[in-house]
């Protein structure tokens, strides 16, 4: 790493002559060892089809992923409106039957977790940012990267098709627990569940193609001088999340295959002996718990697949917009890696009430609480990064602050639920709903919004409107709190989740006002998201030009030859990296930022970090 050139020690002002001078102190100070691998040759599209449809440019693929994911996200949003309409004002929507309600719950959950958040963070931000941030021309295998997007597209199409088949989409809950998932009586137990399983399998296959590209691009195609410990935390977050995805999605694929066989061939992997309507079914001897183990062996890493890119991105945004280096960079990296590794050992804390081996509660409660340690470290580091920083309170920073608040809130309720004795009375109540929406719904969404406002000038060359952005933020932040904060209370009084209606139960009388309030808030928050879409359209038409590096950031994606970056990203020569991307407000520097490509000889009189 730094064996080859020792330029990184803190150079104090060496003599009065070098102060303010630009002459290099010594020529070998800027030495970066030569390239190991020749420059990548790219396939440039020549027609509309190869340039914009079946495109092999990771940036275009990223935007394609982004738009497709946002489309599914809007579908998920509309489904949540319909659910809240039923919960707040039962019977207000005439067409809403219990079956429809369960179908909407299921599709909302699956869409938001897998097809929206995962695809947006890894497919969208991953594709766009990884090659730019590590200084590569493109992903290492652009052809497979292109196929990855189209597999995802087909997966989304199959998922959406399930709305239109007889019986409608599956209504088994997003966890798809057997045996009820594939039994008659569950909505969509015919075609709906089959299309869901096929769609998930396609998603896994497509994602594997993309994920291999992200990993190998980061590991094997960084530019000269870019060590792993000089990568922006965004890349670290996406990298670790992709590792988790590569190792966790197999469990989902396997459970999807086994359930498909249970459904169409009548095998009994997950199906015990069942008597339905007085009739003994052909199933027998299977284990529903096995499905839950497989599902959560995927499902818990999946939580971090969504959370880790958010952690990474928010670290970069906070650092740039408070003009201060990220506090404890190495600690942040190890926390990301540690959370990722631990996430494979905590899965059964989703199953405390499932009837699994009772001793498991002890093991999984312990590992679950251990994972809180690196997570808390990250929160402290974000706050310490802000501490005495030169905070620009712009839209991006607002979203970041919103993230920290919602994440801490959701994280703390997670510690409640990680303890078996606390979880047992709270499980399957609205407390759980509040917890996971706060921690992996709202918090990552805040980061996505912040990231959109931050990187939009790079993608389009124009600033998004700040005033609209602030309205968007305050509606979303206050509204989201109005939705999920009361849900904690609903959970404490015992309102069960996934109930179509409370009828005349005690929950109906005590929770009715709160449910109406939550629903109203949900309508407003959902509608507020269209401010962003309006903002984007307006900006593309009449937005303020951003120019080069508008936020005065250090990382490579802002140092491209053109804005927005062209295919190949960096023009004739790839950038050479000399430092980490967090040299903000360095004492002695001319400006308050030193880009990653600035050679040491230009900043001899500054106290830069050794990286």
């Amino acid at each position: 790493m730094s064996d080859e050139y020792d330029n990184n020690k803190t150079y104090q002002a060496q003599s009065s002559e070098t102060m303010g001078g630009s002459a290099p102190a010594s020529p070998d100070m800027d030495y970066v060892r030569p390239a190991e691998i020749p420059d990548q040759e790219l396939y440039h599209g020549h027609s509309f089809i190869t340039k914009w449809v079946f495109c092999q440019d990771a940036k275009v693929i990223g935007v394609q992923y982004f738009l497709t994911a946002v489309f599914t996200g809007v579908v998920g949003l509309i489904l949540s409106w319909l659910m809240r309409l039923q919960l707040g004002f039962p019977g207000a929507a005439g067409f809403m039957t219990a079956e429809h309600y369960y179908q909407f719950v299921t599709m909302h959950g699956m869409i938001m977790v897998v097809y929206f958040l995962t695809a947006l963070f890894l497919g969208g931000f991953g594709n766009y940012l990884i090659p730019l941030m590590v200084g590569a021309r493109d992903m290492v295998f652009p052809y497979v990267n292109m196929i990855s997007f189209w597999m995802f597209f087909i997966a989304v199409a199959v998922l959406m098709a399930s709305f239109f088949v007889p019986g409608g989409p599956t209504g088994a809950g997003w966890t798809l627990y057997p045996p009820q998932t594939i039994l008659p009586g569950t909505p969509g137990a015919g075609m709906g569940i089959l299309l869901m399983l096929v769609s998930l399998s396609l998603f896994v296959i497509g994602f594997t193609m993309g994920g291999l590209n992200y990993l190998i691009t980061i590991l094997q195609a960084r530019t000269r001088g870019m060590t792993l410990m000089r990568m922006p935390l965004t890349v670290w977050g996406i990298f670790t999340a992709t590792v988790l995805a590569m190792l966790a999605f197999p469990a989902l694929l396997v459970s999807a295959i086994m359930m498909t066989l249970d459904k169409i061939l009548g095998t009994s992997f997950f199906m015990p002996t069942i008597i339905q309507a007085g009739e003994v079914l052909d199933y027998g001897g299977g284990s529903p718990i096995l499905f839950q183990h497989l599902f959560w062996f995927f499902g818990h890493p999946e939580v971090y697949i969504v959370a880790l890119p958010a952690f990474g991105i928010v670290s970069d945004l906070i650092s740039v917009h408070s003009r201060k280096n990220i506090f404890g960079y190495r600690m942040m990296v190890w926390a990301i890696v540690g959370i990722g590794a631990l996430s494979f050992f905590v899965w059964a804390h989703h199953m405390y009430v499932s009837g699994m081996n009772p001793w498991f509660g002890f093991f999984f409660a312990t590992t679950t609480l251990i994972i809180a340690v690196p997570t808390a470290m990250k929160v402290y580091n974000w706050i310490l990064t802000l501490w005495r920083g030169n905070i620009r309170l712009n839209t991006v920073m607002l979203w970041c602050l919103g993230f920290i608040v919602t994440f801490v809130n959701g994280g703390i309720t997670g510690i409640f639920l990680g303890n078996v004795s606390v979880d047992v009375p709270l499980s399957d109540t609205y407390f759980v709903i509040a917890h996971f929406h706060m921690v992996m719904g709202i918090a990552p969404l805040m980061v996505i919004m912040g990231a959109v406002y931050h990187w939009f000038p790079l993608v389009s060359g124009k600033f998004l409107d700040e005033k609209l952005g602030k309205w968007h933020f305050w509606f979303t932040f206050l509204g989201a709190y109005s939705i999920y904060f009361p849900m904690h209370y609903l959970g404490f009084i015992g309102v069960p989740r996934r109930y179509f209606e409370m009828y005349d139960s005690p929950y109906m009388t005590s929770a009715v006002g709160m449910n109406e309030f939550i629903s109203m808030a949900a309508f407003i928050v959902g509608a507020a998201q269209f401010i962003l879409i309006y903002n984007i359209i307006k900006t593309l038409k009449v937005g303020k030009k951003a120019g080069h590096n508008p936020w005065k950031a250090n990382s490579l994606e802002w140092l491209t030859s053109t804005v927005p970056p062209e295919h190949g990203n960096f023009g004739e020569r790839l950038p050479v990296v000399h430092r980490w991307p967090y040299d903000f407000s360095v004492p002695g520097a001319k400006e308050d930022y030193i880009t990653q490509t600035t050679p040491p000889s230009e900043v001899v009189h500054t106290e830069v970090e050794k990286t």
Partner: protein, 237 residues
């Protein structure tokens, strides 16, 4: 592979070398072609797929109250009136290991730029794989004839048939995909796509190289590796 030579970098062995490689710029796996690294990571992911299958099988078999069929008898072949346990499985194992060996040699001759030798060995591997798939088809049809179905079987626990057809089917799919690629690559080797700096691929600017044979070899050895586990857990256990 033995350590590559990299300009401006002294590669150290062992864990010290691992720390240096990980901390260096540009690449983490020194001297490893990106495609090979990609195949390794894919195989890691695929290992998790097969592990999940086998773990499910363990859970299913371990918790059944109905007797599990005795594989030694179920998979026996009758040769001249004598029942030989696992005969077909033994031959299949033999064939797959043979093809694994020819693949390893094909990689070696590929790197030595011995086009003819490499091509014939890849072709031999493909034929070995084809034989394996054929024998698996025979095994399946024999079991189906005896009344074994994914949902039931005459020997005991219903899950036996379910797991058998699912796991060997998934492995057989891997073998079949491998066979298809082996034939394609045998053609590519004979056609000289890896000679003289390599031929450009379709819709890409990448040039062919014998490293592709090693990447294919990794996949093929992995298929053999999975068979080792299936052989142990499914047929012998």
């Amino acid at each position: 592979m033995s350590d590559p030579k990299i300009e401006g970098l002294q590669l150290k062995p062992g864990f010290r070398g691992m720390a240096d490689d990980t901390g260096s710029d540009q690449t983490m796996f020194k001297g490893v072609h990106w495609g090979k690294a990609m195949m390794w990571i894919f195989l890691l992911s695929d290992t998790f797929v097969f592990s999940c299958f086998l773990i499910s099988y363990m859970k299913g078999r371990g918790s059944t109250l109905v007797d599990w069929p005795y594989p030694s008898e179920v998979f026996a072949l009758h040769v001249g009136g004598v029942s030989v346990p696992l005969l077909l499985i033994a031959i299949m194992t033999f064939v797959l290991i043979t093809s694994s060996g020819t693949m390893a040699l094909a990689v070696k001759y590929g790197y030595e730029k011995n086009r003819k030798m490499c091509g014939w060995l890849v072709l031999a591997t493909a034929l070995g794989g084809l034989t394996f798939v054929g024998m698996q088809a025979f095994e399946w049809s024999k079991l189906i004839e005896e009344g074994v179905r994914p949902w039931e079987n005459p020997f005991g626990a219903a899950q036996f048939g379910s797991f058998f057809f699912m796991i060997t089917g998934f492995h057989g799919t891997h073998v079949s995909i491998g066979v298809i690629f082996l034939f394609i690559y045998a053609y590519k080797v004979f056609a000289g796509h890896y000679e003289n700096g390599g031929k450009r691929g379709w819709f890409t600017t990448m040039k062919g190289d014998y490293v592709e044979i090693e990447i294919l070899g990794l996949y093929w050895h992995f298929v053999d590796l999975v068979w080792v586990f299936i052989f142990a857990f499914f047929y012998l256990w």
